[in-house]
């Protein structure tokens, strides 16, 4: 791919990644959503996080890997415990990173 094509690609990707984020807020803010839709939307975040957590732990390299060799599953356990116990993003992150570093270097 030459320089010009790369720039065209960057601008194309930019448009299709910015529009879906900006347009709903720009267009829908003047409307009051009906109650059922609001309820539905209130479940979007728990769903997205459920999906992202599952993928990032059970398919860390883009392929589902449910085995004892998947370090992410082992690191998941202490991280979840700390998250439930402290409810702190900082300590959870610290626990997760430390667990992964230990697993990577010593297991």
């Amino acid at each position: 791919m030459n320089g010009t094509s790369i720039w065209i690609m960057i601008i194309g990707v930019s448009l299709v990644s910015i529009l879906p984020r900006v347009l709903p807020v720009a267009l829908f803010s003047r409307y009051e959503f009906p109650e059922p839709l609001k309820r539905w939307l209130s479940y979007v975040a728990p769903s997205v996080l459920g999906g992202l957590t599952a993928l990032s732990v059970l398919a860390p390299d883009g392929v589902i890997d449910i085995s004892v060799y998947n370090r992410h599953i082992w690191a998941f356990v202490p991280t979840l415990l700390i998250a439930v116990k402290t409810r702190s993003l900082f300590y959870s992150l610290l626990a997760g990173i430390a667990a992964m570093a230990l697993l990577y270097n010593f297991v």
Binding site: P46, F76, L89, G96
Partner: protein, 230 residues
């Protein structure tokens, strides 16, 4: 501009930036390897700010694919933001001016969305908070890309620092924090299961993240069906 809110947003972005560090770095490095200049790699992170989408672009470039293919794949990958952005509307309404809200939604990613939604459960959104959170996360993404593109080849394996688990750890904690209702647990678990099942049955969705979209639509619909009325 409320200084306190801006500061809060910047503070809340720290875990995100930590998670972006290895990802942005790797993107910069890979971009360089497939023939993008340092400026191009950096500008892609400035203009696109889509981790999955940028990685897909690299993959397709490596395979000799066309610009059109990359853009089309990014349409699919970024469709989930339609859902994220729409679900933010009821929170922002009346609190953040539409123009500012829309402009700052430029910085909406999986991570900034999850952190913001968590904050908005018990704090009213403000433009200052959004600016602090989104702009500093974006800056972190751009800076780590730049580092990767410039220094990438001189630094060895960063996996051993454990930073690869920064984003998963963040998702885990945000998920724990996000669970308020009994139905949230079931919804999150079902979405997780749907996501894996769809990814398993149709492996292509693992790459374009369509499994997340389908799982989210299914999860949210289930929530409405089983959810307690508040």
């Amino acid at each position: 501009m409320q200084k306190q809110e801006l500061k809060r947003g910047i503070n809340d972005s720290i875990p995100i930036v930590l998670g972006y560090l290895p990802l942005g770095f790797a993107f910069g490095l890979l971009a360089n390897e497939v023939g993008m200049s340092v400026i191009q790699a950096m500008m892609m992170s400035v203009l696109c700010f889509t981790g999955a989408g940028q990685y897909i672009a690299i993959g397709i470039m490596q395979a000799g694919g066309a610009v059109f293919t990359i853009v089309l794949a990014n349409v699919l990958v970024n469709l989930r933001y339609l859902l994220f952005s729409t679900s933010l509307v009821p929170y922002l309404k009346g609190k953040v001016p539409t123009a500012a809200g829309a402009l700052l939604s430029y910085g909406l990613t999986d991570e900034t969305y999850a952190v913001a939604m968590n904050r908005y459960q018990d704090h009213a959104p403000t433009a200052s908070y959004m600016a602090g959170l989104n702009l500093s996360s974006h800056t972190g993404w751009i800076a780590s890309t730049l580092l990767g593109a410039v220094l990438g080849s001189h630094i060895g394996n960063t996996d051993r620092l454990g930073l690869g688990f920064a984003l998963p750890a963040m998702y885990i904690c945000l998920l724990v924090l996000m669970i308020k209702r009994k139905s949230d647990v079931l919804v999150a678990l079902s979405a997780a299961l749907f996501c894996l099942l769809i990814g398993y049955l149709v492996p292509a969705t693992m790459g374009n993240l369509f499994n997340i979209i389908i799982a989210t639509v299914a999860g949210a619909s289930l929530g409405v069906l089983i959810g307690e009325r508040d």
